[in-house]
Symmetry: C2
Subunit: 336 residues, 2 copies
Amino acid sequence: MPRPSTRAPAITDVAKLAGVSVPTVSRVLTGSVPVSTARRERVLAAIEELGYRPNGAARALVKGHQSVIAVLASDTTRYGYAVTIQGIEEAARAAGFIVMITVIESEEPAAVASAVNLALRNPVSGMIVLKFDPPGVAAVRALPKGVPVVAASGSRGTGVPHATLDDIEGAVKATEYLLGLGHRTVHHVAIPTSGRRAGRAAGWQRALAKAGAEIPEVMYAGWDPRRAYEHGRSLGDRPDVTAVLCGNDELAIGLMRGLRDVGRRVPEDVSVVGFDGHPLGELWAPALTTVEQDFAELGQRSFNLVAALIEGRSSPMTSARQPRLVIRESAGPPPV
Amino acid sequence: MPRPSTRAPAITDVAKLAGVSVPTVSRVLTGSVPVSTARRERVLAAIEELGYRPNGAARALVKGHQSVIAVLASDTTRYGYAVTIQGIEEAARAAGFIVMITVIESEEPAAVASAVNLALRNPVSGMIVLKFDPPGVAAVRALPKGVPVVAASGSRGTGVPHATLDDIEGAVKATEYLLGLGHRTVHHVAIPTSGRRAGRAAGWQRALAKAGAEIPEVMYAGWDPRRAYEHGRSLGDRPDVTAVLCGNDELAIGLMRGLRDVGRRVPEDVSVVGFDGHPLGELWAPALTTVEQDFAELGQRSFNLVAALIEGRSSPMTSARQPRLVIRESAGPPPV
DNA sequence: CTGTTAGCGCGTTCAC
DNA sequence: GTGAACGCGCTAACAG
């Protein structure tokens, strides 16, 4: 059964083959208006025979938007990012939406603008920005009004609706846990943040302040575990350092290796707590104590929020699921 | 400067504001035909003022396709997958394409069909299937003719153009390395494969056969490091096991922890080699010896291939970059 | 160089 | 119920 031509079959072809008008085909497709059983079946048969698929571009053109949601992120490979995206995709797929990914190379206005433009050149019905870091923040700012946007983030924010994780609470829990173990203070190796007041570093600082503990200078490591490794080596040379909270599990792993390479044992000499719940954390030696965040659920929640925005429903405003401190082997009492 | 209405500005609005015809605006947009400097500037100014963005759906409708490439994958969070996707996205973005992601839940025909349909409901200009596992294989089979498709895979395949990594060669190198260290044979903990004859397990087996070494039964672990952990425990109880090649680094990490938990040291008692070049591998103690694969480059190559297909060019047919054995600490001579 | 005329594939009025 | 006519936003093909 050769195709009439090389081009994909259009609704016209289906109508012709089924011996009905184009609108009738459209009706059986959308189900908007009842169609007599006889014709419906002929249409369906024709669709089957031709291998017809409605053209999304044409549909989008008519309806003003298509079932596409765009995700903007500075990276798609890091654990939290990847899992959030997976969560978004899953929820989107279940709702018949498909997901577009655009990476924001940096927080430079030019990079942000080009990513935003690329994404918006397509008829998206909504967007989700992974606002975990400066490029994410910049993207949220650069987005034009009129497009439904939600930010997925580790802490509350303003401007656009946010789906959040409670990073502050998580950091507070971890820090208090360490303090409760008897450590005089807790050091912090930080990931990039989405704001001065927000996130893991803020929770850490708050817990320290509340306990009246000394607040050491933050060690910045970006996203690079090897920088955390270097911090591990230098922190390991300081006997006063007995506990370290890391901005994520990858950093914690790098840090632990650095500590080890200068002869410090974890947790006997130094306690380490990570953040995220990376699946490899539990396999490390020692198994990593960490603050587990449910990124997949964050992704789903983000999608539900945009979906609500798109349909004009009031946002369900579900609150962030509380992070969970998973106690394993990498933290213990300070050395005596 | 309030928008004339709530809807996004269209090319008509720009033309009106600039006092030119619609096609003239289109010409400055596409650059297909020269436009006088005076008008061009007025058009540009109007575009700026209105915040106009060309509607991708309308463009796609006219041109017959849009600059979208769809990626089908069974997972987007695992290391190799995520990095490949990142590579695709980067190359695509540079070429003005955007990337859609659709996850194939399983290899069940229904799941495969629904993923394929969802992706194809949109006017994509090409597709890339991550053919690293059974769902990927099923997706390649389920794809209709007529859409440019390339498979990104760890080994050669037929049916559609493939962009490949040389998994077989990588496994051969690793196995021969272990054998060269003096091990009598090498055990293998396997990931899912894209075919009986292909991939890491095949290379491992080939190298063993060539060396005349005994070929132990393959231990299957799927993608789950915890199953590799269990294999580590059971393998650790067998004194005859002195070397293990793992299907990927995550499995290697799980395996090493299992080995450790039954009192076996790596590499003194058992040598372990991973696969992929996971960034955390070098931070493990002992640092993981592994076969490094350049997934980002695979992603770029995949995109270049579809791009060539889309434009009707003959495929550049660039060959796979050779995998590199990265020797670190986890493998050494067998115990005496 | 520029404006006019068509038409991409589809959903949505309208009449019948 | 059903078909005819129209328009979504844009670019290609024509005239000038």
